[in-house]
């Protein structure tokens, strides 16, 4: 950058002030809190407030529930993100290939979950997944596949949560991918057809690689979104059964606002943030693509 001007500072100042007030200061605050034993008792009598060093973090390492929450969150990320990307890609390509007059209808239908309130959707899914009266189990019964207790079985609950999360999330990616697909010049496909590439080869050798930067960006957004999984398990299962759907964020919420142990909750928040940063950093360095970025 050459010739920095003072006026440039003025332009970034408003955003900078907001960032400092609402991101950096809270971040430093949380980092500080995570090194204390701040809880309801120390709030009532500050004599009980101590700096306890890394005790909160050491405790997390020994905490079976913390590991369980990490595993549940990772499961949703590891299964949910690829599933979301694949669904976004397939739905986008299908939407782009259907007749124009139907396109808007399907696009809207698939996008609606994205803009709906998560709580409303979770409540809707709680009815759908109800063991006895739910539509899902009704259909499964019709097909002769039994009627599992989706939200009551520790193994199924996390799957149900993942399904809901992916269902709510993929419409956003679909819109982005569809827009990116429209940016690919038709001549590339025509050239490929003349050279003898069939439908599958055009998809795998042109469409997917051309969409790779977009899919990479979506993966980053999805990972950061799913990593902060909260509302779906909060409404659908309250983190149960047996803590099987307690995500890291839900665990933090429970520690902080259910049991009033803000020091311990802050430690979880710091760990969550650090992991997000590590992931974003890795993603950025893995993204040297043909656009020369």
């Amino acid at each position: 950058m050459t010739g920095r001007r003072p006026s440039g500072v003025l332009f970034v100042l408003p955003a900078l002030v907001l960032l400092v007030v609402f991101v950096f200061i809270p971040l430093v605050g949380v980092l500080g809190l995570s090194l204390t034993n701040l809880d309801l008792y120390s709030l009532a009598n500050t004599a009980n407030l101590h700096a306890i060093g890394a005790e909160n973090y050491l405790h997390l390492l020994r905490d079976r529930r913390a590991w369980q929450a990490l595993a549940a969150t990772l499961a949703v990320v590891v299964v949910g993100v690829p599933a979301t990307l694949v669904l976004s890609l397939i739905s986008a390509l299908m939407i782009e290939s259907i007749a124009e007059r139907w396109r808007g209808l399907f696009r809207t239908a698939l996008f609606v979950p994205v803009v709906c309130s998560t709580v409303a959707i979770a409540i809707g899914w709680r009815y759908l997944l109800n063991t006895r009266f739910g539509l899902v189990n009704h259909l499964l019964r019709v097909l002769g596949l039994g009627a599992p207790n989706w939200l009551g079985n520790p193994h199924l609950a996390i799957i149900a949560i993942t399904i809901v999360v992916v269902w709510k999330g993929f419409g956003y990616g679909m819109i982005i991918v569809a827009a990116a697909r429209r940016e690919i010049p038709e001549e590339l496909y025509e050239a490929a057809r003349i050279e003898g590439a069939g439908v599958r080869q055009r998809l795998l050798r042109i469409t997917v690689p051309m969409l790779a930067p977009t899919l990479g960006l979506l993966a980053l957004l999805d990972v950061s979104g799913y990593w902060q999984l909260f509302a779906e398990p909060y409404v659908l299962t309250r983190g149960g059964p047996l803590g099987s759907t307690t995500s890291l964020l839900l665990l933090m919420y429970d520690r902080g606002f259910l049991w009033w142990r803000w020091g311990a909750a802050s430690a979880i928040a710091v760990v969550l943030t650090a992991m997000m940063w590590m992931f974003a950093w890795a993603q950025r360095h893995a993204r040297a693509d043909w656009r020369g970025e």
């Binding site: 010049p185 001549e187 590339l188 025509e190 050239a191 490929a192 057809r193 003349i194 050279e195 003898g196 590439a197 069939g198 080869q201 050798r205 042109i206 690689p209 051309m210 790779a212 693509d289 043909w290 656009r291 020369g292």
Partner: protein, 348 residues
């Protein structure tokens, strides 16, 4: 190697818009056929019909004697170079060249050998690992040509391949293209809106306008004997001057009854000295002068209208000065004023 025959082809778009009307033309085996016309005349559509990217509404297209109307592009044995080059941006030059061979399942070693051979031939050896965005316009153009060469097709279809290049490069690539055609000996159909490109590259040219064929001939004949007023005005630069017959008839000595006739004279066909006894004489006043080094571009006000004149002349000229010029009778083109068709003058 193959011929391409286009017979009575109509193309109507789904919306009902007719793009081509009864187009017939043929590229002979090994010929470079230039298709030229103003934008929107349907020339690109014609090429896409031959490529199989669009379907013919009425008519027949034959490549190498076989009707290809219902064949998909990959089975027509054609290669195409697009105006935008249509290089795959996510692939290196090497991968772009190898693409067709790979999708057709050519062995890896054979692919490598042929890609390197064509790369070397087009001077792209050092560029093989680069991405299209890292190439100059000419290098992109060569890559697109190389891709077509590796298709090993009987017919090359080129859709305005030079129009995305800047002017000096265009002249250079034009030479290279002509050279390539000579050495490959492949039938080529070359679409362009640039009449000078068609004149210099084409062995024969098809002039299209409004979706109809106006003339098919060698460039020399199209230039010397344009079939109608449109071709006369479109081919050749600066464009031909047109003069109403009524006012000119006395000078030209045409039959007086031929009022429904228009005359055309190319700017470069005026001479400062009479060349023969039946040359037509024009007298006018110089309205505007533009010097182009050794040449003069003059706007001459005649009694019957203004004409643009291109003249090689040693003597200095001044605006307002009267000037007398001669045109050979053979360089005076006659067109029917209502139909625009060429009228062969009895004087030739």
């Amino acid at each position: 190697m193959a011929t391409v025959e286009i017979e009575h082809v109509d193309k109507v778009r789904p919306g009902g818009q007719a793009v081509l009307h009864d187009v017939s033309c043929a590229a002979r085996d090994g010929e470079l056929l230039a298709v030229v016309g103003p934008s929107g005349c349907g020339k690109s559509t014609l090429l896409r019909l031959v490529a199989g990217l669009e379907s013919v509404t009425v008519g027949v297209i034959r490549i190498g004697g076989c009707v290809v109307n219902d064949l998909p592009p990959q089975r027509r044995d054609v290669a195409m170079v697009f105006q935008s080059h249509a290089l795959y941006p996510h692939m290196t030059v090497y991968e772009n060249l190898a693409f067709g061979l790979r999708v057709r399942g050519t062995a890896r070693r054979e692919t490598d050998r042929r890609v390197r051979q064509v790369g070397a031939r087009l001077g792209l050896e050092a560029m093989l690992e680069r991405y299209p965005r890292e190439l100059s316009g000419g290098q992109r153009q060569r890559t697109a040509l190389g891709r077509a060469m590796l298709r090993d097709a009987a017919v090359f279809l080129l859709d305005e391949p030079l129009s995305s290049l800047d002017v000096p490069l265009r002249a250079e690539m034009r030479r290279e293209l002509a050279e390539l055609h000579r050495s490959l000996g492949t039938t080529m159909i070359y679409v362009t809106h640039d009449q000078s490109e068609a004149l210099s590259l084409g062995q024969r040219m098809v002039v299209l306008a409004g979706g109809r064929v106006q003339q098919i001939d060698t460039p020399v004949d199209v230039y010397r004997r344009p079939a109608n007023r449109f071709v006369a005005g479109f081919v050749g630069w600066p464009p031909m001057n047109f003069l109403r017959a009524e006012s000119l008839a006395d000078m030209v000595g045409a039959p007086a009854g031929e009022a429904g006739v228009e005359y055309g004279v190319r700017p470069e066909c005026f001479a400062a000295q009479p060349g023969g006894p039946d040359d037509v004489q024009f007298t006018g006043r110089i309205e505007r002068i533009e010097s182009q080094g050794g040449e003069w571009y003059l706007e001459l006000a005649l009694r019957c209208g203004r004409v643009l004149v291109r003249l090689r002349l040693e003597q200095a000229l001044t605006v307002g000065e009267p000037l007398r010029l001669w045109v050979r009778r053979a360089d005076l083109h006659t067109f029917d004023a209502t139909t625009g068709q060429r009228v062969e003058s009895s004087g030739r």
